[in-house]
């Protein structure tokens, strides 16, 4: 098992410390391979331009879906983090349910039951809880084969690094959802989602239980998405899913305090 093997590599990753020329060749090879694949293969999910979202979220996005190659930043109320991970998970849910792979980077405290109840297929969800200093490299490697990546940067990202990562995501046609918390994201995302007016329902002073949370989501973006869009949502709803909360409780909502 420990015999010296000069070049035993299991997958086609570049060798450690590739020369610039070599990686250039590799990129050219990949590009021609992609072209070939496009010509020979019937249209598969990785060739489509859009990934689905849960219907209550569709109105927030310019295409009514997630555009491949785009970056979305989710910001909690007043620069905080309350609700941000729920919104990020909800964005993945429909695509995950439809067979896309997703990954969480820097999230070491995932409530897996909540993710499952939102509609995420845990069999196709990878979690990299502690990427450490290599977080950007980890995201760059993931977007090679994973459609949706949620990133909570463990360190405040530098602008140049953020821009490189966004360019990589665009090139690999994945979707990057960033939950930057208080450290912020030093780049203009395609879509910014802001959370406001969070309110848990169903719980009083010792009676009931947390039955659901209402929040307002505001999406702003660039170009076609420049006009802010607002949506009042149950997130999570009493079943742990996402539902429209246009002022009314969804069916099955239980006791108000």
């Amino acid at each position: 098992m420990f015999v010296a093997s000069p070049d035993r590599r299991d997958v086609d990753t570049p060798p450690p410390g590739p020369s610039p020329r070599r990686s250039l060749d590799r990129e050219r090879d990949l590009a021609s391979l992609a072209l070939l694949a496009e010509r020979t293969r019937p249209v598969s999910s990785s060739q489509t331009r859009l990934l689905p979202v849960l219907p209550p979220l569709a109105d927030l996005l310019p295409d009514g879906a997630l555009r491949r190659g785009s970056t979305i930043v989710v910001a909690g109320p007043a620069g905080g983090t309350d609700g941000d991970i729920t919104v990020a998970l909800a964005l993945l849910a429909a695509a995950s349910g439809a067979g896309s792979w997703s990954a969480l980077v820097g999230v070491d405290d995932l409530g897996a039951v909540a993710a499952h109840d939102l509609g995420i297929d845990l069999d196709r969800l990878a979690v990299v809880p502690h990427p450490g200093a290599a977080w950007a490299e980890v995201v760059a490697a993931l977007v090679e084969g994973v459609d949706l990546v949620v990133l909570r940067p463990p360190f405040p990202p530098r602008p140049a690094m953020a821009r490189r990562l966004v360019a990589r995501v665009r090139e690999r046609r994945s979707v990057l959802v960033v939950v930057p918390g208080r450290s912020g994201w030093p780049d203009h995302p395609d879509i910014q989602l802001r959370i406001d007016d969070l309110r848990w329902e169903g719980v009083g002073t010792g009676e009931g239980y947390l039955s659901g949370r209402r929040m307002t989501l505001t999406a702003t973006g660039r170009r076609s998405a420049a006009r802010p869009r607002h949506r009042r949502l149950w997130m999570p709803s009493p079943t742990g899913a996402v539902a429209d909360a246009g002022g009314e409780a969804p069916a099955g909502a239980v006791p108000q305090p």
Partner: protein, 361 residues
């Protein structure tokens, strides 16, 4: 890497015919659990707990180690140690040391390579004149994978303090669940080959290759996946295992009815280590849960990890749970949902102490 306290019972490492060693070990685990409900059994005779919350509560890692030693001394001889990551923490326990945070590579450096538990690797290194863990750690990482293979690379990551454990350390303890990376969590052979995926789909094969390259970057145990099973609460229902392309999926217990479960929706944030909390009424008097499962006061404010008090605007519960009724030291605990301005929490109270188990993030 997690700060871990390891309790090692040298007399209980081997199972005996009558199961007496195992029963004594369960007593040790029960005694340790008095200090932190989140104790993991590593293998028969060894258990670990994350020190972050309990060390703050009990005045530092050293006093926590002393308390645990005292609590278990009556049951059997124990060795207690603290370090970064499970591998170093087990060695620290053997020497009865509390290795300071960040000091793990220095602690490991003078030890012989044989502590890595791979005799073939140790022999090969010895022939190359590499005798200590520190010498091995000093080899450039890029050379290690090529020369010593995947197992060697894993040992190298542990030797240099970049990874916390070798999968072989863990063994199931009968009657208890063992979480964390399992033996055989390493990837071997090309990913995406028919047989692993059963020719499932191109999508799965692409994802498999991407995840494998992440494992090459940060180590095989750096990529995990979540599994669910039936259980009383959102914390017990989920566990994370090292991602492995060869694994099948098994969620047969998912959704099994389980009385006493806290009603949905489940919290989106489950803290990997419990956070220390204090719950008081509006006048600052501590609130607890009585033996009959009732609150002893009206929750008015909450402090987490010794932070500022925030007002509790609403709460629900307590939901008492009487887990592990088969164990001699019966464990009474209860859970409470508490809404404050900053966050909405799922609290756990046990032996009069409050912890934040999860946050409705």
């Amino acid at each position: 890497m997690n700060r871990l306290l390891v309790v090692r019972c040298p007399g209980l490492l081997d199972e005996d015919e009558g199961g007496a060693a195992l029963r004594s070990f369960v007593e040790v685990v029960d005694a340790v659990e008095a200090y932190c409900p989140w104790v993991t059994t590593v293998r028969p005779g060894i258990c670990s707990l994350p020190t972050r919350g309990p060390a703050r509560y009990f005045g530092g890692e050293r006093s926590l180690a002393q308390l645990v030693t005292d609590a278990t001394a009556a049951i059997t001889a124990v060795e207690v140690g603290v370090a970064d990551g499970l591998f170093a923490a087990v060695l620290a326990a053997r020497s009865g040391l509390v290795v300071p945070p960040g000091g793990t590579p220095d602690f490991l450096a003078p030890l012989p390579v044989s502590v890595l538990g791979h005799p073939e690797l140790a022999e090969l290194l010895d022939r190359l004149g590499i005798r200590t863990v520190g010498d091995f750690a000093a080899l450039p990482e890029s050379h290690v994978l090529g020369r010593f293979g995947a197992d060697g690379a894993l040992c190298h990551r542990v030797a240099s303090g970049r990874s916390g454990e070798l999968g072989e350390l863990r063994q199931p303890v009968p009657g208890r669940t063992v979480d964390g990376p399992r033996p055989g969590g390493r990837r071997a052979g090309p990913v995406g080959e028919p047989g692993f995926w059963g020719g499932v789909s191109d999508t799965d094969a692409r994802a498999g290759r991407a995840l494998a390259s992440v494992q090459e970057l940060i180590g095989p145990d750096g990529v995990t996946t979540a599994r669910l099973r039936g259980g009383r609460d959102p914390v017990q229902r989920a566990r994370f295992v090292t991602w492995d392309a060869r694994e099948g999926h098994d969620d047969s217990t998912l959704g099994a009815p389980w009385p006493g479960r806290i009603p949905p929706p489940a919290p989106a944030v489950v803290h990997p280590a419990l956070l220390h909390a204090e719950l008081a009424d509006a006048d600052g008097r501590a609130v607890s849960v009585s033996g009959r499962g009732l609150l002893t006061g009206v929750p008015g404010r909450l402090s987490v990890e010794q932070g500022a008090w925030s007002a509790v605007t609403a709460w629900a519960g307590p939901w008492p749970s009487d887990e592990r009724w088969w164990s001699r030291s019966r464990r009474r605990s209860a859970r409470l949902q508490a809404v404050t301005g900053a966050a909405t929490r799922l609290l756990l109270v046990e032996r009069g102490r409050w912890w934040v188990e999860a946050t409705y993030g």
